[in-house]
Structures are given as C-alpha cells and as structure tokens.
C-alpha cells in the first residue's frame, strides 16, 4: 500500500544538495575575504512568468580582484521568443552560439555561485528571473545574500534637500558617473563587468564614511 499521508522530505537533485551544503560555511568576517559573484541576465522581456533567460554573465570578485579566466558566460536554448527585446541585447534565437538547456544552465550557475554574495544592478529583477527558472525545474529559491548596486549607489549621494535622489539609477548613469567604458553594454557579461567596477567604486566611496562590514553592504543594497 502506498501511504499518501506520510510526507517524505522532497528529494532534490544532487547538484542542488551540493549547492545547499555550501551554506553550512559562514561568511568570513573581513570584507576582503568575502567572495562576491557579480551577475547579470539578459532576458526575452520583463515578465517573470512568460519571459525567459537568454544568457547569464557572472564573474567573481574577491579582494578587489577579478580573474578573467574564472567567469561564467551561459547562453540558453529558447522556446519563448520576444521580438522586441532583440533590439536591445542582439541575441537571436538561432545565432550560432553554443547553447544549453535551462536546467543545465541552472546547474552550472549553482556550482559557480556556491555561497558567494550576489551583486547585481537592479538585483531583484535578475534574482526573480533565476528563481522563476528554478521553480520551473522544481527547485527552491536561491539562498545567497544579494546586494543591489542601484540601491547601494544612493548611499553615496549627499543627504541634502538640494539634490533630489531618483528612485532608480540606471547602469548607464553609473557608467557615466564612474567613467566606465560602455563597451559590451547589454550583453550579460558586459553589464556584469560594468556592475563589478561600479560596485568597487561605490564601495570605496562608502568606506570614507565608516569602516564597512558585509552586513552593512547587504543592508544598504
């Protein structure tokens, strides 16, 4: 007889369990030892339900250094397609780039992320997109701490009623402000790189105010 009432803990695939295991380790106390993963996703649109991730770009930032060889650049196979957004990111459905399935991409992403602190510009959007993809594959949400550079940037601005802070600051505005070349803008990896440099520059300006800890950053971002 099958017992319908006994709730067995849900079995997740091995790669998820390995990912989950990474979080048994605590984040280091010193900011310079913390592993950050800066990521950006290009999607078919802004609808969490219907739109899909086209590509993911992620790089690792540790102690103000980025190793070029250690990054993750994924292009996903597409079912859903939105003609409008091609104009922005230029990724065509049939373009000859090596593509992988959504699950394969998630598997690689989780293995790359581990317990790193995620940094993204307008992080909520990227995280929601990834979490939706996880959900479609029967997996729980990401467990990483996350920092949004758009929010973090606002803390570098003067608090005075002479300057009206905007609700959002675009990545373009940050790139202009911090003199970062906008080469490869609107590719996942290009944007991830701009975000990474912007994060470093924001962080150094924040440091002028207090000795910064990870929890301060997470709170602000």
């Amino acid at each position: 007889m099958i017992n319908f009432f006994k709730r067995k803990p849900k079995q997740y695939p091995l790669y998820w369990e390995e990912y989950e295991k990474c979080f048994e380790q605590k984040q280091p106390a010193e900011l310079k030892d913390v592993r950050f993963v800066v990521l950006d996703t290009e999607t078919t649109g802004f609808d969490y339900v219907h739109d899909r991730i086209l590509s993911i770009g992620a790089l690792t930032l540790k102690d103000k250094m980025i190793e070029v060889s250690n990054n993750l650049e994924l292009y996903l196979e597409q079912e859903h397609f939105n003609a409008d957004s091609i104009k922005i990111h230029g990724i065509l459905k049939s373009e000859a780039i090596f593509r992988i399935s959504e699950e394969e991409a998630l598997q690689q992403l989780l293995a790359y992320l581990q317990n790193a602190v995620i940094i993204a510009h307008h992080a909520t959007f990227d995280l929601n997109m990834i979490n939706k993809a996880l959900e479609r594959n029967g997996l729980p949400k990401l467990k990483n701490l996350a920092i949004d550079t758009s929010n973090l940037y606002k803390h570098t601005l003067l608090t005075t009623n002479l300057v009206k802070k905007k609700e959002h600051y675009s990545l373009d505005e940050l790139a202009d402000k911090f003199d970062i070349s906008k080469k490869d803008r609107h590719t996942a990896m290009g944007d991830a790189y701009i975000t990474a440099i912007a994060f470093l520059k924001i962080k150094s300006r924040l440091k002028e105010k207090e000795s910064l800890k990870l929890k301060d950053l997470v709170k602000m971002g």
């Binding site: 770009g57 790089l59 103000k64 250094m65 980025i66 190793e67 070029v68 060889s69 990054n71 650049e73 292009y75 780039i97 090596f98 570098t156 601005l157 003067l158 005075t160 009623n161 002479l162 300057v163 202009d176 402000k177 003199d179 080469k183 490869d184 590719t187 990896m189 290009g190 790189y193 440099i197 470093l200 520059k201 150094s204 440091k207 002028e208 105010k209 207090e210």
Partner: protein, 638 residues
C-alpha cells in the same frame, strides 16, 4: 567558449606596445590569464623591497606613481597603457621602488610565466623589451606611448624639480662654424641648411666671434656691407663664453646683460679654450617647461583633453615650488588661478568643437565656489553653471537642451583632467544650473526674497560666480540684478550673515582646537569648515552689502573692505592675512597627501605651525562679532 571580458581586455591591450606586436589569437589567450585589479586612491600596488609578484602590471584606468620611499619626489607617473613592475620580475630581484595609486585606478595584472614565452618566441617583443631595458630612455617607440618596462631610473631625464632656476641647461653640441674670411653669403647658406640662428667663427678652434640672424639683418640687409663681405667684418666679437654646467638663471642674466640671444660654451668657460657648444634663448625656454608662460602656451595649443591632463600635473609641480619658495600667496593664487582658468577655457573650446552646431545664442560659463573666488589652488570638486541670452518662449526648450548637451561634454572633460563631479550636482549639466538670463534673475530673486536655509546656502555658492568663458555682459546684467534685489530686501543680508555665523567654531571653551569627533576624519582639524568658511562667508556678506562687483577673492575682498571702512581697517587686514595663511596651510597639506587638504592631522604639525594656525582663530572670532553686531543677527532666531 565565448569570453566577453578577455575580449575587452585584449581590445585595450592591442593599442599599446609590446602587446600590439602580438597576433590576435595569442593576445586573446594572454588576456584570458589576466587578473583585473581595482586600487583605491593612495593604496600601494607594491612597496620598495617587496619580493617580486607573479604578475607585472598595465594601467587600464587611472594613474600609478612610482617613487623611492626615502625621496619625496615622484620618479614616474604611469597612466593608461603604461607598463610597470616588469623588470624586477625578469631579473628576479626585489622591487626597487614603490608603486602607489595616484588616483583611483584599474590595473591589469599579467602573469609573468604566461608572458615570458611570447617575449622569447616573438623576436619583435623581445627586441622591444631589450630596447626598453637597455636604453634608460623612455619607451623607444614614441613619446605618446611612454610605457616603461624598466623600473629604476638612474637619473630622471626631465626632472620635475620645481626649482628650475638652479638647474643646468642642455645646450646644443652640434657646432656650426666657419672661419673669419668665409664670405657672409656662404655663412647664411650654411645657417639655413642647418636650421640654426647663429654661427660661431673659429680661429685655431677657438671662438673669436659670432654671427646671428640679427647681425645679418643689421649689416647686410640694410646694405651696410655687400653680401660677399668677410665674416670677420660683421661678427660680434669677443664672444660671451661660459662653462658647460651653466644654470638657467646664469644664462638668462648673461643674455639680458649683453642683450644677446646666444652664448658660447667652451671647455673651461673662457674664450681661450675650445668651443664645445652653443646655447640659445630657445634652449632656455625648453628647460623652463614649468614656467607659467610656457604652460599657458601649451594649454592654448592643446588639441586633446589628455594633453591638458598632463599640463595640469605640471601646474601642481609649479604650485609646490612656489609654496616651497615662499612666494607671496596673492601672486601664487593669481598665477595658479590663471592657469586653471586657461585649462577650463581650453576644455570649453574643445567641447564646442564636438557640438554639431554653433551655440544658438551667446552664453557664459560661470565658475562658482572656490574656483569663482580664485582660491582654488588644488583641484577639488567642480561647481559651475551656464547662463545664456534670453530667447523667445518657443525656443527655450531647444536652447536649454543645446546647452545641457554642451555642459555634459564640458563636465566630462573637467572630470577627465581631475575635477571630481560635484556630489551635490551643482554643475551646468544639471537642468537646475543651466538657465537663460531671465530664468536666473527669477531664481536669484526667489532666493533673496525667501531666504530659508537652503536658499542662503545656494546663494552663498552661486554669488561667488566668475566668468570663465563667454560673454561678460550677461554676467554683468545678472550681478546688477542681484545688487538691486538685495538692496530692496535688506533682510537677506541678515540671513546671509547668520549663515556666515553658523560654521562650527574652531576652538572650544578652553581655547583648545576642536577636532572632528567621529567618522573617517576623526581627530583631524577641518580647516575648511572651521576656519576658511567663516572668513569666506563673512567677506561675501560684507562685500555684497557694499554692492561691490567683481571682487570675488576672499583676501582681496577684505583688502577692499579695509579701504572702504578705515575704522575697521585693522580687523579686515588681519582677516585678509589669516585667509592667505589658512589657504597656504590647506594647499601644503593637500599637496603632501594628494588630497583636498581639508583635514589636517594636528599632531603632525610643528609647534610653529600650530601657533600660526591658532593665531588666525582670534581673527575669525573678531570678524564674526563684527558681523553679528552689524547685521543684528541676534534678532534672528539662530
């Protein structure tokens, strides 16, 4: 696998030697091995005697200063595309000097193990490295790409010593000579062929006379002598001679004294030994690269913003030299402000060329704050605004957009040469600071008639404006309007005065200096907020109440006030003196620490300096009392 970042790195490196010598696949492969490093301003890359890293470095953005730790002056400054820290790796020895981020920088760290094979396989790359190591010159390829691979400089070839006067001059060793009976037309032919302005006449290898362009003009062209006359007839004799290590000052004096343009260098400095070279006025000009007149010329000739950035560095050297030599602050600030103004002006000219069309109407570029007061010796934040001619209502939006676009280019240009963006966005590219004359009039009227705390602050920044570029008349009209309005609303002075008194006091109850209590600048003295601002604010409200136009500089304002009010002469002159002293303090501190100099670490000051600083506080108190009484500030809720 696609790697966008390594492409980005390769795309940058391919512009600079020796990476331009690698083919694309190899460059890409190398780029994949690179680590991108961010360095905050002032943080070290490596220190003297550190053991060699596994990487050498290329500057992607920013600038890295190389110096010996026991010497004050910088050995070299590496900027975009320059290589540093390679030689110790090749020679397996410790670093001979330290490398520190002069500004916020991004570096590419290239692993030496991955790079070595290219240096060995690719002959051109190898040759480049050998050439750079062997010649103690800069990059053997070109001056613009002065990437330097060696580290130790035995003797910097163009030292940035601010005290140029005692430096020896390079003279030309290529001697163009003739004998006393050479016909003058042959002399002239030879001078033209060799592109020189003077010819030495030798007899038994000893210099007996000199013929210059001027002698040819005075004697031949005037028809005094035929053109076939012997050289000895028209040569100037005897020749003024010097030893070879003549200093700039000596050479200048000698030329002025005898009203000549060339000196002959002989073996022992007398006309009785062999001539070994010739020194012209031009050589002196070149040696005096740090001279303000030469710098101004270089600025007005600069075609690119990058060139101006280099010149800006020379201005800082000049400033350091002036302070060291105790040149009066009035003169120093005048010269430096002129140079800074010239830089900004040039950037505006370059930016205007980038615009698709000419400005639709006349406009004025206003510098505000310290730049407007001609007190900005060190580069700080930019504060500026645009004022343009009135246009019909329907054209206003288009005109405003034109100037906003222009301002954006200018603001970026200023940023590129080292003026940080204003954190409060008080820049012409902000729509709040780019208006037509009528719009500005309405705006300042509003500030003056409704003086809340924000309005007083805004006016205190804006009212120190100065025309850096463009139409003076527009600014003049605006100033007239400000004076008229303030006279009709005298209550505004009261608010401005009370604003001037709100700066925190420099000393506490026991007359001890008040230091910052917390934050990054804990235990330092904020010389800007606690000492300079009270004086600046006081000068502004007083001069405004006298309706004096175009005296913006704080110490000049006090001098003017001393003139206008003989009974308070002493106080005002003391204020003028205090301002200069404080400004000098701040500038010296700033140059020392490569920052704005605003926060002074008191314990690092000498006793004498501390007394000097404290003496200014008494003056600040006096002027604040004067203002408080004059404008009856106590009537206002403070």
């Amino acid at each position: 696998m696609k790697n966008t970042i390594s492409h980005r790195v390769a795309d940058f490196l391919k512009n600079y030697p020796p990476f331009n010598l690698l083919d694309k696949p190899n460059l890409l492969k190398l780029s994949e091995q690179i680590t991108i490093i961010y360095k905050e301003k002032g943080s070290p890359v490596f220190l003297e005697n550190d053991s060699p890293h596994a990487h050498f470095y290329v500057v992607n953005k920013g600038a890295i200063a190389l110096k010996k730790s026991n010497e004050k002056s910088m050995m070299d400054l590496c900027d975009e595309g320059d290589i540093f820290g390679l030689r110790p790796l090749m020679a397996s020895e410790n670093y001979k000097m330290e490398a520190r981020a002069q500004e916020e920088s991004i570096l590419y760290a290239i692993p030496i193990e991955k790079f070595k094979p290219y240096a060995q396989q690719n002959n051109e790359v190898g040759d480049y490295l050998i050439a750079s190591f062997a010649s103690n010159t800069r990059n053997p390829y070109s001056i613009t790409h002065r990437g330097k691979l060696y580290q130790e400089v035995l003797e910097p070839d163009t030292p940035h010593t601010p005290l140029m006067d005692l430096q020896t001059v390079q003279y030309s060793k290529k001697l163009i000579t003739c004998t006393e009976n050479t016909p003058v037309n042959k002399v002239a032919e030879k001078m033209t062929a060799n592109k020189v302005g003077a010819m030495l006449i030798l007899k038994n290898k000893l210099p007996i006379g000199i013929i210059t362009d001027r002698d040819l003009r005075n004697n031949i062209v005037t028809g005094k002598y035929p053109i076939t006359v012997e050289a000895s007839k028209i040569m100037v004799s005897p020749v003024t001679t010097f030893r070879k290590n003549i200093t700039i000052t000596q050479a200048q004096m000698a030329m002025m004294k005898s009203n000549i343009s060339h000196l002959c260098i002989t073996k022992d400095g007398t006309p009785d030994t062999k001539a070994i070279g010739i020194l012209s006025k031009h050589d002196i000009m070149v040696a005096m690269g740090n001279n303000p007149a030469v710098l101004i010329k270089a600025i007005t000739r600069a075609k690119k913003i990058k060139n101006i950035k280099r010149i800006r560095k020379s201005i800082d050297h000049l400033l350091a030299g002036y302070l060291e030599q105790n040149i009066p602050m009035t003169l120093t600030s005048k010269i430096i402000t002129e140079l800074n103004d010239a830089c900004i002006k040039r950037i505006i000219e370059i930016s205007l060329k980038e615009m698709p069309s000419e400005p639709p109407v006349k406009f004025t570029w206003l510098s505000m704050g310290s730049q407007g007061r001609s007190e900005q010796l060190l580069q700080t934040d930019q504060d500026n605004a645009i004022l343009f001619e009135n246009v019909p209502e329907e054209d206003l939006e288009e005109t405003t957009n034109y100037f906003l676009k222009l301002a954006k280019i200018i603001n970026k240009g200023l940023f590129d040469i080292g003026y940080e963006y204003c954190p409060a966005e008080m820049m012409a590219s902000n729509p709040n600071w780019c208006h037509s004359l009528d719009q500005w009039k309405a705006k300042v009227s509003q500030w003056i008639t409704n003086p809340g705390a924000d309005e007083v602050l805004l006016s205190s920044i804006f009212f120190d404006y100065n025309v850096t570029y463009g139409d003076m008349e527009l600014a003049d009209k605006l100033s007239e309007h400000i004076f008229e309005t303030t006279q009709n609303y005298p209550i505004f002075y009261l608010h401005l005065a009370s604003g001037a008194l709100q700066n925190p006091s420099p000393t506490g109850f026991f007359r001890q200096m008040l230091l910052e209590a917390d934050g990054e600048h804990k235990d330092t003295f904020d010389v800007k907020r606690r000492a300079l601002m009270p004086l600046t604010d006081a000068a502004r409200v007083l001069i405004l109440s006298h309706s004096i136009k175009f005296v913006n500089n704080t110490f000049e304002r006090f001098e003017k006030l001393a003139e206008l009010e003989p009974n308070n002469k002493e106080t005002f002159l003391a204020c003028s003196y205090a301002t200069k002293a404080l400004l000098k303090f701040r500038t010296k501190q700033g140059l020392l620490h490569n920052d704005s100099g605003r926060y002074i670490a008191i314990e690092q000051l000498s006793k004498e300096e501390r007394i000097k600083l404290k003496r200014t506080f008494k003056t600040i108190k006096d002027i604040q009392e004067l203002i408080s009484v004059r404008f009856k500030v106590s009537n206002l809720m403070r």
